[in-house]
């Protein structure tokens, strides 16, 4: 479904990614793991078109992405649930959700999607008329994911959805991710919470200082020596 082929990405003259390649297949949950500053967000922003690779290319459903402007990605079926949520703080919860469904296909199914979001996150229905800027951290994250669901995407990219959440909320969050996936959305998950992510994912890639150093099935990596030492603290 999504193929990233040998991309190099720079911020100005500073290189952030070196020869990154990975693949996400339909129906999978693929995790992109790595510590802070490894280049995970950079990778997602490059797929979203906010950054351009200097080398390499990206394909989505056979279409070349690297030449398209950022706002076209949504219409191809890619939803980006960004790091730090990036909600529209002065708009209501409902308006934020509506903003998720601007593309014609998603717009046609707006009511239905809204119901779906409200069944997954009942609290959002209660908060529908509240400004997004006034939500708690957990609620904000739910709204960010809900906004992604509203797009009826084929692929949802989630950037550290568990960041800053209380432990019980993190469990909830991963349940939701698995649920969304079961309902038919392919997921590219970026996480620092390696243990949780490896349990939830089909396959995973490990990013270190801009390079992919490990890849494999989630279960298998969970028992990898290097992972245990570097990320799981065993």
């Amino acid at each position: 479904m999504l193929k990233v082929n040998n991309i190099d990405v720079y911020y100005g003259d500073v290189q952030a990614l070196w020869d990154i390649s990975f693949e996400v297949k339909e129906g999978e949950i693929v995790a992109l793991l790595g510590s802070n500053g490894a280049g995970k967000t950079t990778t997602l922003n490059t797929i979203s078109g906010l950054l351009r690779p200097r080398k390499g290319n990206i394909e989505f459903l056979g279409q070349e992405l690297t030449k398209l402007p950022a706002h076209k990605m949504a219409s191809l079926g890619i939803a980006h649930v960004p790091e730090a949520r990036k909600l529209f703080p002065e708009m209501t919860v409902k308006e934020n959700l509506l903003m998720g469904s601007l593309m014609p296909e998603a717009k046609a199914r707006r009511e239905e999607s809204m119901e779906r979001v409200f069944t997954i996150f009942p609290i959002l229905k209660e908060r529908a008329w509240q400004a997004a800027g006034t939500l708690s951290g957990g609620e904000s994250q739910m709204l960010a994911v809900g906004r992604g669901i509203m797009a009826c995407p084929k692929l949802m990219m989630m950037d550290e959805p568990s960041l800053g959440l209380a432990p019980f909320l993190v469990d909830e969050e991963f349940k939701v991710i698995e649920r969304i996936n079961r309902e038919g959305i392919t997921i590219l998950l970026v996480e620092q919470n390696v243990a949780h992510a490896l349990k939830a994912c089909t396959r995973a890639y490990v990013l270190e200082i801009g390079r992919i150093t490990l890849q494999g099935k989630g279960e298998k990596l969970l028992h990898d020596k290097h992972i245990e030492e570097a990320y799981l603290g065993i």
Partner: protein, 291 residues
Amino acid sequence: MALFGQTIICGFLMGGVYAVIAIGMTLILGVMKIINIGHGHLMMVAMYVCFALFTSLGLHPYIAMFVAMPCLFGIGYLLQRYSIHRVRFVDTILPQTQVLLTLAIGLVFVEIIRVIFKSDFRSVYTPFSSKCLYIGDMSISLPQLISFGIAMAFVAGLHILLTRTDFGRSIRATAQDLDAAKYMGVDALRVSSLTFGLGMALAAAGGALLLPIFYLFPDIGVPFTIKALIITILGGAGSTVGALSGGLVFGMAESLGAVYWAPGYKDVVGFVIFLLVLLFMPGGLKTVIKR
């Protein structure tokens, strides 16, 4: 008592028209994060469009505004798309290149208008211009009342556009978080160009509403840019409710200042408000008036 009532009426009616002019600026500031120094100058262009339609076809500004608004919308759209936007990411020695560019564009328009219409003062005076309603000893100018009504209709229309339509929400979203708006599939260049156009169309409406009660010459824009800026700061950037309340407060302050302080210091009233707001209420009225 009649004096106080008259003062309030004058300030209120004027404030409504100020609000329409300022709302265009606040919209542009909200979405593009630039102060459009050419705002008043482009409003002046719209006034000349109305003036020309009045002298050639006899169209009253209330009708001519529906020609002037699309004209200014087009000018605004093209300016943003092909000129202001282009310098966005250019690094130059000058800070705020875009702001300076709006100033330069405004001045170019002033000179163009001067070539066409000369520096002469113009006005659209019809016997209707002086019609008034009287309540006791107080008078309400009919054209001002109509201008106020139309102004409020535009403010309400804009408010509905911004809160009830996808396009309007996209404008607000772009203002609040540009990158997130792009993730949602918003074409930011298109939205900012349309917003600039919309802002200019509203300035055009404000100009057209002023024409029956005021006069016109090529340099008329500057004080209006300043007023719009003060109202924008007073109301809070990007907020229709803020611009409306800011406009009314500003109109009222000018009017009260002229009667109970000194008519020579209207501008000082404005600048005092400007300073006080910056110092004590930096978010503007919109932070006070929460929905």
